[in-house]
Amino acid sequence: MSTISIRHLSKSYGAFLAVNDVSIDIPSGCVFGLLGPNGAGKTTTFKCMLGLARPSSGEVLYGDRPLAPATFEDLTYVPERSVLYEWMTIRDHLELQRRSYARYNPNRAADLLALFGLDARKRVRSTSKGMRTALAIVLAFSIEPKILVLDEPTSGLDPVNQRAVLKLIIDAAAGGTTVIFSSHQIGQVERAAEHIAIMQNGGLVLTGSVDDLKYEQKIVEGIFETDGFSTNGFGGDARISRVEKTGRILRLTVRRDSDSIASDLNGMGAQSVRVVDLNLEDIFLNAVDPSQQTADVVEGA
């Protein structure tokens, strides 16, 4: 069952189309990663989801209902940039949460403050960027929401606290919370997310479960004795989406029949052949910009 359904969502600012006909179904209780290069439209999609910006067209449904004020009883949002009140203390922000949400849990808030080493007496203006990010996380998790929307939730955090946030996300999902988050750190998304969507130039270029996406594509890598081997024939093979040749190494991104293709490389005289899973970074780069690959692309499908 989908907790959130985004249907044909578009948002334009004047002539600029920030989000272009995006449709995503986010399953209940999962961790959903939204990926994309800067300016892809991730934050605008979040804003439209949360009623912070008016969609030019399309709709967003929570369950089978559109967003309503009551939806926020069970939903919190951590935006990419700090929206905290600089003149207020950390304790003031917690008090704001307490007065705003029936689900606010003061014990949970105290635990989270301790986890991130935040001093409740401090004013926000005297805290670092990382501490502000941590406070935003504390505020979001202290109400124990059913839906968490996190836009770059680890931005500015040190590696220890980044890991702590990831653990919070995974634990929350294990408890039934639907977590939707964006991050430029693909490794984090890979570790936490079960489903992803990749956006580029406002449009959706890829969506699905991380396992399925990894299963669908493999890399078959062969190392030859010399670099004089031929790649002819691979370019027209429908099973292969990318052919890269770097010196003696031939790297094929294949859609299916990876074992059969590995046998073909053995038949071509490769010294060694291995089949490896694609990581999320490969999937991401393949989706948004093939030219980001470091090896020379000699042929492509």
């Binding site: 912070l52 926020f72 935006p79 705003s100 949400y101």
Partner: protein, 342 residues
């Protein structure tokens, strides 16, 4: 839900507290100066102790206690009519330091005290009227500037949220309209608290000098109502003017006061060229614009009927005018708040 606004109001009230504290301290200083011989009573006591003074006290049929101090050596004559709780009338006649050829006359009123001084033929006559009846509205009118300052401090509440905090404000379980109305409602309550706190401080300050004999009539009640509605309408004007702004609300606050006073000044300037049709057109335009200014409406009740704005003179019309402006500005602020995007 509206805790942020509550904190802002408390911060604004701290400023009000500082202003009232300064007024309070000034009153204490004045009181101490009076204790050191500046008051009419102390002057009379001093005159009675003079070696040549002749003092007589009589109880008159109308309930007055009249004390007469005559000091022929000093050419001083003092008459004190003591009305008890209703205060005193003190007349002091003595030689003046001012040259005989000069005659002067002056009146000073301060709260319930009225002082008239006249100099004629080298003799000075001072009449003190203490503890005369005072309209309660006077205390409220004194609170008006402080209420306007507070209203300005907390104004533009919606624009302040729009300055980088919408993601927090709009992801609470409350509708935008309810949020805006509640925030403005809290601020208006803060203005009412400011007026009442100021009046209490002024009352205590007055009591440093004498127990005031307050009264309230219909006109005074109307003025008291204006002291609440005008700062509220002023607050709503600034909030409506800035509701859709992200960072420019400081400019709205900064320019509002000069504009509010420049327009009436310009009206006065162009009115002096009453023969010119251009000047008349400018005055008509400025009066129309000034109708949107709640402070101008406040000054309507002083009798300058129709001179400063299109709203007729009189307290009743001013109250209605300021309430209409308040409602319209609040509605405009909410309408703009609906259109804003994060």
């Amino acid at each position: 839900m509206y805790y942020v606004e509550l904190l802002r109001i408390i911060r604004g009230l701290r400023v009000v507290g500082i202003i009232l504290g300064i007024i309070f301290l000034i009153a204490i200083v004045f009181r101490l100066i009076f204790l050191q011989g500046g008051s009419p009573d102390s002057w009379v006591r001093h005159a009675q102790l003079s070696p040549g003074a002749h003092v007589t006290t009589r109880h008159l049929a109308n309930g007055l206690t009249r004390t007469i101090v005559d000091d022929p050596a000093d050419r001083t004559h003092v008459v004190v009519d003591d009305r008890g709780y209703s205060g005193k009338h003190i007349t002091i006649i003595e030689p003046s330091d001012v040259a005989q050829s000069q005659n002067r006359h002056g009146v000073i009123s301060m709260g319930s005290m009225n002082v008239t001084k006249s100099i004629s033929n080298g003799m000075s006559r001072i009449d003190f009227e203490t503890n005369s009846k005072e309209n309660l509205a006077t205390l409220f009118m004194a609170a008006m500037p402080i209420a306007l300052i507070f209203a300005t401090i907390i104004a533009c509440a919606l624009a302040r949220e729009n300055d980088g905090h919408l993601e927090l404000a709009w992801t609470k379980p409350v509708s935008r309209d309810a949020y805006a109305l509640s925030v403005m409602g809290l601020d208006l309550a803060g203005i009412a608290v400011t007026v009442l706190a100021s009046v209490v401080v002024f009352l205590i300050t007055t009591m440093f000098f004498e127990l005031p004999r307050l009264y309230l009539d219909a006109g005074g009640a109307g003025l008291i109502a204006l002291v609440f509605t005008v700062p509220m309408a002023w607050y709503a004007l600034l909030t409506a003017a800035s509701a859709s702004l992200r960072r420019g609300y400081g400019a709205v606050i900064g320019t509002a006061w000069p504009v509010a006073f420049i327009i009436p000044a310009l009206i006065g300037l162009f009115e002096s060229h009453s023969g010119s049709s251009v000047a008349a057109a400018i005055v008509a335009t400025l009066r129309t614009v000034n109708t949107l200014n709640p402070i101008a409406i406040y000054f309507n009740h002083f009798g300058r009927t129709g001179e400063m704005s299109l709203i007729p003179g009189g307290v009743g019309a001013s109250i209605v005018g300021s309430i209409v402006l308040l409602v319209v500005y609040v509605a405009l602020a909410v309408l703009q708040w609906r259109r804003v995007e994060a």
